[in-house]
């Protein structure tokens, strides 16, 4: 953490001291935190800040979204690429409540956000004033921290805290509710900014306790069938190299969670696949065979464990996790290691013995062969009448050499993208995991592209999801961000339809959509695109999309009633995984 105080570029010599307004102080504070991009939407109660922002356009790129939810998801995509907080700026009342979904999404997926929200003047607080909502109350359960600023003097210190809290420990969203009166009034003292280094009541443990590391190493060194489950925490800690070194030294197979994907290259010999409801066959089933589970930066979500009461009962569990409240929450840990994944793996690496575990690793291959034969090969065979989702992803994977950043929405296409994309680079999947927020992908892909301008960003979106946030096409076009978006159109809310087929006797209850002409919509926004409905033109269609100079929408008409397998039906144990 940087400790030096940051001097603003304003004259603070006593003779000519100029007192800043709260709004100006906010801008200087954001610059001091090296914020260069803000996703926002103006409105009444945040206008003084927007007025101050007018003078900061050379230092801060403000991106005007089309809906505050879009600002939130874009900031999430940006934060995931940059590894630091994404910043949103919105007005009070509906502006703030529209941010609720992204904030909840960011909390459960540990994404650092600083959301700055206007509020009515201090004198009007609690009076049901125009566009007043109790945003503090609303966001209390879904933020890592929130605070209401009511005086200009508080601004620098609170902004410093906001960034420190959002970005340190287990990252998460922070909301700052700032009254219009605090934005307008002048500070009573000269502005100065000091970055927050510590908060007395908040001290996330980064370096784990040596005795915890030793206990974990002892278990690992004695294990016959050890198994690494790597989660999002590995990526948040930027511990991809340490994970790989640790796995290579110990010869332990690595599976990832949904959000842990791309932390290890899919062609690495120790990578066995991903876990969860629609994860791979072997990685799920063999959790029941491992004798030591090494869970790193993951939280045993129910989509990973299935019935948690039957999950990894036979194994000793090492749980490496920065958030102590996750330890023993779902699965009892025999050896908890509280700390940052990078530091924990570095410490462990020194204590573990080199090993191979070839026999154990080969067991995964047996299951792979079965999964390949029953699911993967038929899905990619190109023998079905209509294009299957997997074919699109498989082809995209090959055409991008597995080096694009995929931004996926929520549903069948999300699972297919994870199944068939061969991730070769770290930090290459941005998806809404814990919250499962439909409508996430389009705005998040935009933010991802802003945060990673050098990378190819492809959004994989369902036809249902697309219609939740399609107005952000306008943001993409206005900002000339070359986001590539693929709609896998099956004319259904596919995942719900799949469940209705499998568990509700095909009683298709409100899952069929009468869709608009997506390409006409895109063109209306000034974005080029085309529809591909024949297998013969799929390859050429992807080429056209990828080669296009600028944003592009490709709609692929896919088979209407395709199902995602394998599947661990909700509430069953992972051993009850279904292949058909």
């Amino acid at each position: 953490m940087e400790t030096a105080s940051v001097t603003p570029d304003i004259d603070t010599t006593p003779e000519t001291v100029q007192l800043l307004s709260g709004a100006q102080a906010l801008m200087h504070s954001l610059v001091a935190e090296q914020v260069d991009t803000i996703f926002g939407y103006p409105g009444g109660a945040i206008m003084p800040v927007y007025d101050a922002l007018y003078d900061f356009q050379d230092r801060i790129n403000h991106i005007l979204v089309r809906h505050e939810q879009g600002a939130g998801h874009a900031a999430q995509g940006y934060a995931r690429m940059q590894g630091r907080a994404g910043v949103c700026l919105v007005t009070s009342g509906p502006g703030a409540t529209n941010l609720v979904t992204p904030i909840a999404d960011a909390l459960i997926d540990s994404t650092p956000l600083v959301c700055i929200v206007g509020q009515v003047g201090k004198k009007l607080l609690g009076t049901d004033a125009f566009q007043e909502a109790d945003v503090m109350g609303v966001t209390m359960p879904i933020t890592k921290w929130n605070y209401q600023i009511t005086t200009a003097d508080e601004v620098p210190e609170i902004i410093a805290r906001a960034f420190y809290i959002a970005q340190s420990g287990r990252p998460g969203p922070v909301l700052i509710d700032i009254t219009k009166s605090a934005q307008l009034e002048l500070m009573t003292q000269p502005y100065s900014y000091e970055r927050c280094r510590t908060i007395i009541s908040y001290r996330p443990r980064i370096v784990p306790k040596p005795e915890q590391v030793e206990a974990a190493a002892k278990l690992i060194n004695g294990a016959k069938r050890p198994y690494i489950l790597a989660g999002h925490g590995v990526q948040l800690a930027k511990a991809e190299d340490e994970l790989r070194q640790f796995a290579e030294k110990t010869g332990i197979p690595v599976a990832t969670t949904l959000l842990g994907q791309s932390t290890i290259s899919t062609d690495h010999p120790l990578y066995v696949g991903w876990l969860g409801m629609h994860g791979n066959y072997g990685p799920n089933v063999l959790t029941d065979e491992a004798d030591v589970i090494i869970a790193i930066g993951m939280r045993f979500d129910d989509r990973v464990t299935g019935d948690a009461s039957k999950y990894i009962k036979q194994a000793k569990v090492i749980h490496i996790e920065i958030d102590p409240s996750e330890i023993d929450k779902i699965i009892k840990a025999d050896a908890p290691v509280v700390g940052d994944a990078k530091e924990a793996l570095k410490a462990l690496l020194k204590l573990v013995h080199p090993n191979d575990h070839t026999v154990w690793r080969n067991e995964f291959r047996k299951y792979d062969a079965i999964e390949n034969e029953t699911i993967t090969v038929p899905s990619l065979s190109g023998e079905s009448e209509k294009i299957q989702m997997g074919e699109v992803i498989d082809l995209l994977s090959k055409k991008t050499n597995g080096e694009a950043v995929l931004v996926t929405d929520v549903g069948q296409h999300q699972m297919m993208a994870s199944r068939y994309y061969q991730f070769r680079r770290p930090n290459s999947l941005v998806t809404s995991g814990g919250m499962g927020t439909m409508g996430f992908a389009l705005p998040a892909a935009f933010g991802t592209k802003v945060g990673a301008p050098d990378r190819t960003v492809v959004a994989i979106i369902g036809d249902g999801c697309f219609q939740m946030t399609l107005q952000e096409l306008g943001t993409i076009v206005q900002n000339k961000q070359p986001v590539k978006a693929i709609i896998l159109n099956n004319n259904f809310l596919g995942m719900v339809r799949q469940w209705q087929q499998l568990f509700h006797e095909r009683r298709y209850s409100f899952v069929e959509l009468q869709n608009p002409d997506f390409i006409t919509i895109a063109k209306g926004f000034g974005m080029d695109g085309h529809t591909c409905s024949e297998r013969e033109t799929l390859s050429e269609s992807l080429d056209r999309m990828l080669a296009h100079d600028g944003p592009y929408l490709l709609e692929v008409i896919v088979e209407k009633e395709e199902n995602v397998f394998p599947m661990v039906p909700a509430g069953t144990s992972v051993s009850q995984i279904r292949l058909t």
């Binding site: 503090m136 109350g137 209390m140 359960p141 890592k144 921290w145 929130n146 209401q148 809290i165 908060i199 007395i200 009541s201 908040y202 001290r203 958030d323 102590p324 409240s325 330890i327 023993d328 929450k329």
Partner: protein
């Protein structure tokens, strides 16, 4: 059902009570009593929260989730035998002209309760003790008189450890009242 007493030390900020109780609500745990006041250290609040729960594990998870709140400095969870605890109750007792006289001697010597206010046709009696002591006294009074109003403060507790709990708080330049 086991009774647990949870002591939470926090910085004294607006809205924190809300943040803490949300965790109980999410986990559907009913709060039996809750008291908050500032400690001997300036700016540090102490919550004493009493709950009943079947599962020690669930209470441990609750404690860890409370600890996660940014403004929370420390959380301690206790069983009844690990603490010294008490609460105050006040009884507003009807004593109209001609009613049965108040047996002050029994109230004082047997129940260790005291009359703290004499009204025209009522008295207010204060009783300190555990929940059980208070309800024993309640039963006694109800047999003898009409109770016009009854209120309990909720539990306050100190641990039976050698050190005071504030000693476990993070080190800082604390300002003291003591």
């Amino acid at each position: 059902m086991t009774t647990y007493t949870i002591c939470v030390f926090t910085s004294n900020t607006i809205g924190l009570l809300n943040r803490i109780t949300i965790i109980f609500t999410r986990r559907r745990i009913n709060i039996e009593s809750l008291t908050v006041s500032e400690t001997e250290r300036k700016g540090v609040s102490r919550f004493t929260i009493v709950i009943k729960h079947e599962s020690r594990e669930e209470v441990e998870k609750l404690v860890r989730q409370i600890r996660k709140i940014v403004e929370v400095m420390a959380v301690f969870g206790y069983l009844n035998d690990e603490i010294v605890y008490n609460e105050i109750a006040m009884f507003k007792i009807s004593t109209p002209l001609g009613a049965k006289p108040l047996d002050v001697e029994t109230i004082n010597s047997k129940y260790k309760a005291w009359v703290v206010y004499w009204g025209l046709d009522y008295v207010v009696v204060e009783k300190t003790g555990t929940e059980t002591d208070i309800f024993d006294f309640f039963a006694y009074i109800r047999q003898q008189h009409d109770i016009l109003e009854f209120v309990r403060s909720g539990r306050v507790a100190v641990g039976k450890t050698e050190q005071g709990l504030v000693e476990y708080l993070p080190e800082a330049e604390w300002a003291y009242y003591l």
